[in-house]
């Protein structure tokens, strides 16, 4: 029976995975586009130096009159533009990686809370977390490349910058490349070990006739959540907040977490509805979708709460080293900055407020897509101002990076779905979950 289920799932999954392959090909095709973009920037650079030589009035990008030294400015702009494809890759890689990590946290919460409604969705959640390993390895490679000065996303990694910057010097016992990479390796190894054992226990549990694996998973999940909330916070400081090494926010870890969590739940809901619409997951009913949509609604509001808490305190106190963070975002990133608040807060609130709408699949799907787009923009807003400054644009590198990592993500997730039966049939709560109704 299990073999039958696997075969069945495999049969249907070969279709979407091939579509994903196509997508990936397009994406990798456009990854060439990235190369082109870099070439373009080179020409851009030539133009920039040209402008310097002729002492012509600075181009529109140079609008800031305060910049006396045009040469330095052109170099600055060049660095920003060289950063752009890297930053685009970084944003997309982080976005999909955090979905997998958030899904793992959600999954662990279900275990630790001994939730009765969700076990029918466990295999979907496990599959979404399957991207954790490749995603985190990609992240680590990107960070290591930064560490070895292949790209310049993190300015504190640049010894010249540090030499002239007392504030970064003061932080250099924490912000230095070896320690940074060691920390990253610890987080990544930790998460993946927990993920590996949780998945293994869940699969083994179906084969045996006792609950020892379930109990192990329960303890593992509790341990993971403790490990996760510490490492997730530190990860968000390291990987995102340190892009602006002068700026700090004490609730940044929570803020990234809420973004991660809502995206992950949205992806779980979307994958569930997709599988359901294809006729798999026979035990998933409207009430499960309703509950996932409630989470999407609630965590969206939670995200807004944190966003606003961070924003309002900094806005009100108006302390120079803090407020610059928002000044750049409001002045240079006005549309994505406020657009993202609308997408991530107003849209889900109005769409998912009504209890009945949470049960209408296409409604949830539509809202989910908007939420995912909004949270991509959120990450974009966290990373881009520090790395490319004013020269932002969502163009070929950004979209192709999303397509590439999105394709890889879907391929791995759906591939993982084929590896196990879609029902964790011996979970102690599976009966309750199957009959779950609200």
């Amino acid at each position: 029976m299990i073999v039958g289920a696997i075969g069945l799932i495999y049969g249907f999954l070969s279709a979407p995975s091939s579509i994903e392959d196509v997508k990936e090909i397009i994406a990798s095709h456009e990854a060439h586009g990235e190369g082109h973009a870099e070439a373009e920037q080179a020409t851009h650079h030539v133009e920039g130096t040209h402008a310097d030589e002729s002492h012509a009035p600075v181009k529109e990008a140079h609008g800031e009159a305060a910049h006396g030294d045009e040469d330095a400015h052109a170099e600055h702009l060049l660095h920003q533009l060289q950063n752009k494809p890297w930053a685009a890759t970084y944003v997309a890689a982080f976005f999909f990686f955090m979905i997998a990590l958030g899904a793992l946290a959600f999954y662990a919460i279900q275990y630790a809370a001994q939730a009765g409604w969700s076990p029918v969705l466990f295999r979907v959640m496990e599959a979404v977390t399957a991207y954790l390993l490749p995603g985190s390895i990609i992240m680590f490679i990107l960070l290591a490349l930064s560490g070895f000065h292949i790209n310049h996303l993190f300015i504190w990694m640049d010894p010249e910058v540090v030499a002239n910057d007392e504030l970064i010097q003061g932080k250099s016992s924490y912000l230095n490349v070896p320690f940074f990479l060691i920390r990253a390796a610890i987080y990544i190894a930790g998460w993946n070990i927990f993920r590996y054992f949780l998945r293994k226990n869940s699969l083994k549990h179906d084969e045996v006739d006792h609950n020892r694996f379930y109990k192990k998973s329960f303890k593992l999940s509790a341990g993971f959540l403790v490990f996760f909330i510490v490492t997730e916070s530190m990860m968000s400081w390291d990987w995102i907040m340190s892009l602006d090494p002068h700026w700090f926010s004490t609730l940044f870890g929570w803020y990234v977490f809420s973004s991660m969590f809502v995206s992950a739940i949205t992806v779980i809901a979307l994958v569930t509805m997709y599988l359901k619409s294809k006729g798999y997951l026979e035990y998933v009913n409207d009430s499960h979708i309703h509950d996932l949509a409630k989470f999407m609604f609630g965590i969206s509001i939670f995200w807004t709460y944190l966003w606003f808490s961070q924003f309002m305190l900094i806005w009100y106190s108006n302390i120079p080293e803090e407020v610059t963070y928002f000044i750049t975002r409001i002045e240079d990133y006005n549309l994505p900055f406020f657009g993202m608040v609308a997408l991530n807060f107003i849209f889900p609130v109005l769409m998912l407020m009504n209890s009945d709408y949470k049960r209408i699949n296409w409604f949830v799907v539509m809202t989910g897509i908007v939420i995912l787009f909004g949270h991509y923009l959120d990450i974009y807003n966290m990373v881009m101002p520090a790395t490319v400054g004013k020269s932002w644009f969502i163009g070929v590198p950004e979209i192709s990076a999303i397509l590439f990592f999105g394709g890889l993500f879907m391929f791995i997730v759906f591939n993982a779905l084929t590896k196990a039966p879609l029902l964790a049939k011996r979970n102690p709560f599976i009966k309750e979950s199957q009959h779950f109704h609200y």
Partner: protein
């Protein structure tokens, strides 16, 4: 006109749910059910129309939001602009972040309080009101289903209700 009702008393909520379903299937009219605690899904089983309280709550929230906006605009901007923390308040939009917590609080305040008041009015509750509860045991551990007799045969009905698992079946002249 005296209307006769039958009070059927149950001791278990699952039993009650089942009895409610059976009674409705047998085309008897349930007047009311009294329970010591909210029974999940009872409203659906009784065929009550879905509550519209959520809609009123949303509207009250909008009222609260507009009250907050106009209040803050009048107090802080029009009537008495002050310079707070280097942020002179001459424009509503520029001072908006400071007003958001108040807007949020008043939205919640209006939605919650007006919703509770609406609920009291709709269920005809007010201070010092005499309880309509027909049997005090329904405040402890018994469940009571009130079925109107109408033109049905009382004997058949009581037999039917006893068969649904009722502990007691009483005929009451209202």
């Amino acid at each position: 006109m005296s209307s006769k009702v039958i009070h059927a008393i149950y001791t278990d909520d699952d039993l009650l749910m089942q009895a409610v379903k059976q009674t409705r299937e047998a085309n008897y009219h349930i007047e009311e059910v009294y329970t010591p605690f909210p029974v999940h899904g009872l409203d659906k089983a009784m065929g009550l129309a879905p509550t519209r309280l959520a809609i009123t709550s949303f509207l009250y929230g909008l009222v609260g939001l507009s009250v907050a906006i106009s209040m803050m605009n009048f107090i802080m901007i029009q009537d008495w602009p002050q310079d707070i923390g280097g942020k002179p308040s001459f424009s509503f939009l520029e001072n908006l972040p400071a007003f958001v917590p108040i807007m949020f609080e008043l939205t919640v305040f209006f939605a919650a309080h007006l919703m509770v008041i609406t609920f009291y009015m709709r269920s005809k509750l007010w201070p010092f009101k005499q309880a309509e509860n027909p049997d005090v045991r329904t405040t402890d551990d018994h469940f009571l289903m009130e079925v109107s007799v109408g033109k049905h045969n009382v004997k058949d009905m009581s037999k039917f209700l006893s068969d649904t698992g009722a502990l007691e079946v009483n005929l009451i002249n209202k």
